[in-house]
Amino acid sequence: MKASGFPYVVPMLLLSVAFFATPLAVLVGFSFSGPGGATVEHYGRFFGDAFNFRVLVSTARLGLETVVGTTLLGVPIALLYWHSGRTARQVIIFLTLIPMLTSNVVRTFAWIVILGRQGPISETLMALGLTGSPISLMFTEFGLLMAMCQIDLPLIILPLIAILSRTPVQFTEAAQVSGAGPWRILVTVLLPLMLPGLLAGWILVFASTSSSFVTQAVIGGARNVYVPQLIYREVGTLFDWPLASAIAVVLLISTGCLLVAMTMISRHRRLVGHA
């Protein structure tokens, strides 16, 4: 019977309506509120200021850059896991999970030390003679990107591992026997196999990066402004809640569009191939 499972979904449905759909509806309603009734003035104010539009683009760009960075780091680690024995797999899982058990605030402040003038990056570059004086990657977009990639890395590794652990390693051996080279195996066998995990990871990483506040504020400083900081400023400093709601709705729609685009691209027939 098709309807027999519905009662089990009801609590989750009620929770979603009460704690997600309703606040979201309030947020959207607030973004159209004005002293004289419904208005689109707040959206006009947001898009009327070139600075705001630039911040929106920077936020999307940071999210996409982090997706690329975590993919480049995460895929080799997941493949290493796939080809490893039991002990090595446990070590990889442990090392992946351990940062997640630490507060994001603590991890962010650890990055202040790493990226600072007296940090290991600066010291290493000086030891190698690549720079004559200490350098700081604090308040730079590159420094922020490094921190975001490390912080969000587990979000892409774990879905990949979940997919690969159900897949026999012999797939690659079969491809080798059939005469495929390493790159051909990667593109035609491994990537299509990993695509569901990659897609889940991309969505998680992009959503996490574009909505992150602490790391962006602390590592990025005030020069690198992103939408969450803009929303915080409007709510907590300027008390302009309708504008803050409008910005939040714009962020939701723009990140939603990008996520849909990513999903569509990853499901494209030529990408998925014959997997």
Binding site: R117, V218, R223, N224, L238, D240
Partner: protein, 346 residues
Amino acid sequence: MHDFKLSRRHFGMLAAGVAASAALPFSVRAAGGTAIAATFPGNWEDGYRKALTPILEAEGFGLTVAPAMAQDQLAKVMASPGNPPYDTLLMSPGQMATAIENDLIQKIDPSRLKNWNMLDPAFQGEYGPTVTIEVNGIAYNPDMVPRPKGYRDLFENPAYQGKVSWTGFASNTAVMAYTEMAKIFGSGPNDMDAVFKLFKDHPEQLQGVVDSTNHQMTLFQQGEIAVFMCSTGNVARLKSLGMNAEFVQPETGSPAAPVNIHLTKGAKNLDAAYAYMDAAISKAAQDILKMPPTEMFPTNKEVALTPGIEAYVTRDQLSKMVYPDWAAINKNRAAWIRTFDALVAG
């Protein structure tokens, strides 16, 4: 080895036991109610928790110190008018004016404060007592830079290039410094265009702009910055952490701001809130808070100043401090915040 089994009945009893054990110490500790008091994070939070909690407990009240910057306190109280998350707020005159305008705080009944008469009339506000005067200036690391004379020095002496950090206009400390700079580089305290031009002409100064003074203190500890705008309390905190930090009163004068405790409209624990206010202006509490690492200027007349505080300011010098016009600041603050943020982001 026995199997671990947990029946529904056992689980229910366990949950009830946990709930009862959580409630028990609370009811014993705070028979007279618990005050939810907002304080600034860091030094204030630690100092108030240590100094005031025992005093309130002795009188049968509990105290929950909730750290939040003044603007955040306002935002949270505005979000739930009539049902505030705090019983008391801690803020300077700028935020107080906004709180009064939005009907968020109420006038107090001084007869409920035993220590009220220990305050000078200037510290007896109708919306709550002044608990300290924050004296502002410039913090610097003597190991990294020479002692700055004032704000002009930070822009004109190359020794400070790339070592100074600023914050946006949301911070009271920053606003007070910027109004002073507007006097120096412009036509008066509200001529902020002169300050924006100054930053445009010195883009290297914009590289060290961060979001809060607390964040600056972290960067100062890491040697990332050597100079920032501060209160005497910030420097006292850094010194207590073993940092080589010194406070400078700018040659043009030190901006200062009274810090007051206010009673929120709809405060749920009035008795506890009054007990907390009274404790904050008591000799017992201020004798503790005047010592490092807090070094707060005492407003209770019976509390003698320490040599450390007198090095910054004496009671006689209080009148010579620079007290900004908060009404003018509040009028322009939103526009200044937006302009400065856009300038910093390039």
